[in-house]
Subunit: 332 residues, 4 copies
Amino acid sequence: MLRVGLFGFGRIGRVHAANVVAHRQATLASVYETDPAGRDRAVDLYGVRACESVDELLGDDSIDAVIIASPTPTHVELLTASVRAGKATLCEKPIDLDISKVDACRAAIAEYEVPVMIGFHRRFDPSLAAIDRAVRAGEIGDVECLRITARDPAPAPVEYIAVSGGQVRDMTIHDFDLVRWLVDSEPSELIAMGANLFEQGYAELGDTDTVHLLIRTEAGAIATIENSRRGTYGYDQRLEIFGSEGALLMDNQYEVSLERHGAAGTKRRGTVLPGFIERYSDAYVQEIDHFVTSIVDGRTPKVSFEDGRKALLMADAALESMERNAIVAVPG
Amino acid sequence: MLRVGLFGFGRIGRVHAANVVAHRQATLASVYETDPAGRDRAVDLYGVRACESVDELLGDDSIDAVIIASPTPTHVELLTASVRAGKATLCEKPIDLDISKVDACRAAIAEYEVPVMIGFHRRFDPSLAAIDRAVRAGEIGDVECLRITARDPAPAPVEYIAVSGGQVRDMTIHDFDLVRWLVDSEPSELIAMGANLFEQGYAELGDTDTVHLLIRTEAGAIATIENSRRGTYGYDQRLEIFGSEGALLMDNQYEVSLERHGAAGTKRRGTVLPGFIERYSDAYVQEIDHFVTSIVDGRTPKVSFEDGRKALLMADAALESMERNAIVAVPG
Amino acid sequence: MLRVGLFGFGRIGRVHAANVVAHRQATLASVYETDPAGRDRAVDLYGVRACESVDELLGDDSIDAVIIASPTPTHVELLTASVRAGKATLCEKPIDLDISKVDACRAAIAEYEVPVMIGFHRRFDPSLAAIDRAVRAGEIGDVECLRITARDPAPAPVEYIAVSGGQVRDMTIHDFDLVRWLVDSEPSELIAMGANLFEQGYAELGDTDTVHLLIRTEAGAIATIENSRRGTYGYDQRLEIFGSEGALLMDNQYEVSLERHGAAGTKRRGTVLPGFIERYSDAYVQEIDHFVTSIVDGRTPKVSFEDGRKALLMADAALESMERNAIVAVPG
Amino acid sequence: MLRVGLFGFGRIGRVHAANVVAHRQATLASVYETDPAGRDRAVDLYGVRACESVDELLGDDSIDAVIIASPTPTHVELLTASVRAGKATLCEKPIDLDISKVDACRAAIAEYEVPVMIGFHRRFDPSLAAIDRAVRAGEIGDVECLRITARDPAPAPVEYIAVSGGQVRDMTIHDFDLVRWLVDSEPSELIAMGANLFEQGYAELGDTDTVHLLIRTEAGAIATIENSRRGTYGYDQRLEIFGSEGALLMDNQYEVSLERHGAAGTKRRGTVLPGFIERYSDAYVQEIDHFVTSIVDGRTPKVSFEDGRKALLMADAALESMERNAIVAVPG
């Protein structure tokens, strides 16, 4: 059994905790959480050791692996310390909002051969994973176009936006990773067209509520991303990939498999799944499974530190594109 | 060009007239219609000859083929006269509501080698025809079960019901033909469960508004039919066929290919197609095309007099089943 | 925390065990399982007490409730003993294959006011529960027709069939319960048309592989059930309910939300969910939640002993219908 | 009856001819076609007058309206002459590939009060028209984003491309018109990212086979267009419009309403409709109906000369954007 320590017992920390507990090859051994209520809840639910400090958790030799699910500003420090302590590490995205800190962290951990995985959970979604397998198997031939639609169900509070790093670093970053993963070619240039269509409070922070992007990859494929902070009808998560011989389209998922008919026309009941917790519940299970089994079996986990860094470089390019209202080259 | 004469310029007569006119190998030459307004309209729209009598139409040697789209009680007489006049004949279903009259007609035309086709238009629907082709090609292996759902959009007036011959002779008769055609095995026994769920006026006429049937064929396959005189949401026309290696499901068709999303959930706009004119518009085009090209090319048309007779035998068996509340053998 | 004892740690026992463990208001305290390997696995996974006898489990005063997931022939004895021991009891369906034993059990527990629930899990499926709520809320008006399609993914081994009680007692029994639940009217008569279309080994046991039924309820509604022991493309679980003002249709559920397009036409990836474990995983969670919270809150659970008995009466009527090839009245 | 003259009896001219013939308020009176075979066919099918010259057709006082369906280079001259002859005119898109010629034509016909309509047929498609009505009725609130996907079924021959005016003037021009129509706000700036992903012969002509665009409108909405000269699976025609209160999504349309299931998974039969003739057959009917009834009733037709000119201005901006690899302002 892989013994896992967890930093952070907030919303995403709790998802990971439950999935570690339910995994046949892993045990949740300890938790570090600064909020006393959260800490008590972890102990109450799972009987884990509640650590008083980062060092206490990392200093425990019985711990094999750690999951970093604490706030973004703590990631770089915890990731560096965990790697130095020899713990296999799964760190939530983004590594940091500042590329210079990410690069410093990269240098600091370069010499350690400890498995590090970044939490781009969508790569583990059964539908997206099926697309990846089909593309690798050549079912659609050469990839030519990718289109991603992502709309949050409802705008986040302005307080969250203020510390989020901005729409492209916080939200589009997932889509940047999907582009690199599914197209399997590095981006060469991109253009971002941002707008404030419904949340003027975001504009005051210099952030957008809507951003559409075109991205050209080195292999020539074109990716289109549509992002909005509001869905009006649920959590809109769709993706289409077109190749020389076919196409794969991922539709939204619904709460129930019903069609309602009446005099007013056909209605499909309910909305699409309401948020990321519901839509990606299987992805989080599979993400933990991949992390755990990779460590247990001695394989390198799929989503590397470099993948986390590259997605941030794309976000920074998108910000520059919006500032200059121009096409921007993406650094390698 | 095949020169066609038409008996009857009511609702279905007009559909056939337009399709004959649009066909490249056929011309609508003459019409016999007892209603002066209908007759004038035919002349006005298509410049056809308006015949004063049945004999005038059938006595015209320039006429190659006739379509009988007049009221049901006239079918047997017109069909017999047309065949005797040597005209290739397309007769609307049912041949008659009384099997003894059908049998008499059968005897009367037995010696003539004139092409006769009965108007079971659904066999020519592109979706149903695609099912037929797939089944013949062995795509689903041996046919085991067939399920037909047919709901009229709204109950017909009691006046119509009084002369309709009853739900199974007027409505289910189409489904009886589909069973024989798609299962490709004669029915051996059937059970009909009828009900008056919403139209008590029908009950006073001894007719049902709802009837469900189970039919066993000689080859062992089971067919299920659900019929209702009311759809509440459009014209419900679905069919499923299950075989040893797969299944084919025909869904309803919609007016527009839209999905509407809003806070109240996903809605698909509009209802299913509202009636048989809309749903089977292509089937009527293909039916005329099959009739015309069969005659022109010297091939025997697909839907025979015997097919029309067999469907009526099944309807009579269904009536007997409801009267006796028992399973009934279908005569061969 | 409700302390739960479990009889049987086979396939369905394990599903219930995991759901009890994950429930916030319940603890899995003890298991009785005659197979040593199963017993050891329960202890290993959950650290529960492994009881050496039924009496040891039922004699433990700390146990509040029991779940009976052992083989069908043990149900009546365990159910009677559990109720007499004052334990709230969730018993898997069927109560027994023999109505006389069910009636004897009914008499034996009549005087006890202990909550008893029968495991018709489909009532807790989110889609079916949504249909129930919509029907109760009057969204489709008066219920007129119900249609249930249920096809197992693949035929069960002949050895299983030999002890299953036959298709209608083992498989259709779920659908009988759905008819009573959703139509909300007792069945008055039914007709069953059975067949052996692909498994001749079943015929040698006097069992069918395919059965279609028509059921009339006291309120006049007609239900149609299609059952097959083989799906060819997954686990076919669909239901349609038609009312005076609308209809609700439950479609199959798919493994991934993908559409694949290529030169050969559009393909939706994979099959429908492959079996009941996958299709009804949420239903099993909700079933345990209903049982646990009903007991904790002092409410009567939804699916009563009487519901289990009535479904068996319908199955017996279906068997009689097939033997006599006739419509049969369902006893009240 | 409106008497119509037709210039050009090629592919699109024949579609218009059949729709004029079938219209209750219009007659196809004369055709001018330089190809003798085409001219003979028109006479043979419809018995129309075959004109030997443009002047013969326009000089016929009995002609009320003309349809210009001849090659693009002839449009400006024919349009000018028709307007000067006082004929209500429906001219196929594009007016011309050269904006200076369009502007010259605009000046030449400015003083005439003759109805002129440009043939953007998609505005008359039932699904797109339903979207327009819903948007106008406020169903989705303020329009924020529009996304258009258009993929031709297969690349056109290089010979056609050489005279087409290029992908954005020939293909995207329809989408430019949809943006202006559905967003109901003029475009302010756009970016086009073109590529040659599969047709190098196009590259040699300086044309693209794939182009993706972002367009910002004066009202702030963002439109995304994806265009490809190849679909791999049929004619891909989809559109999504997002507003402050909901969204409307138009899906592709299929040849038959079938789902095929087998061991290899669910397959929907056939591809999406194969080309514009099939996909927009209803749109062409409605377009002619709108033209005819507008003239007959004295209303101004919906799609003006100015609409045709604006779409060309957007195409020219897109070309400039690709040349400069920059965001470009769209002239008013």
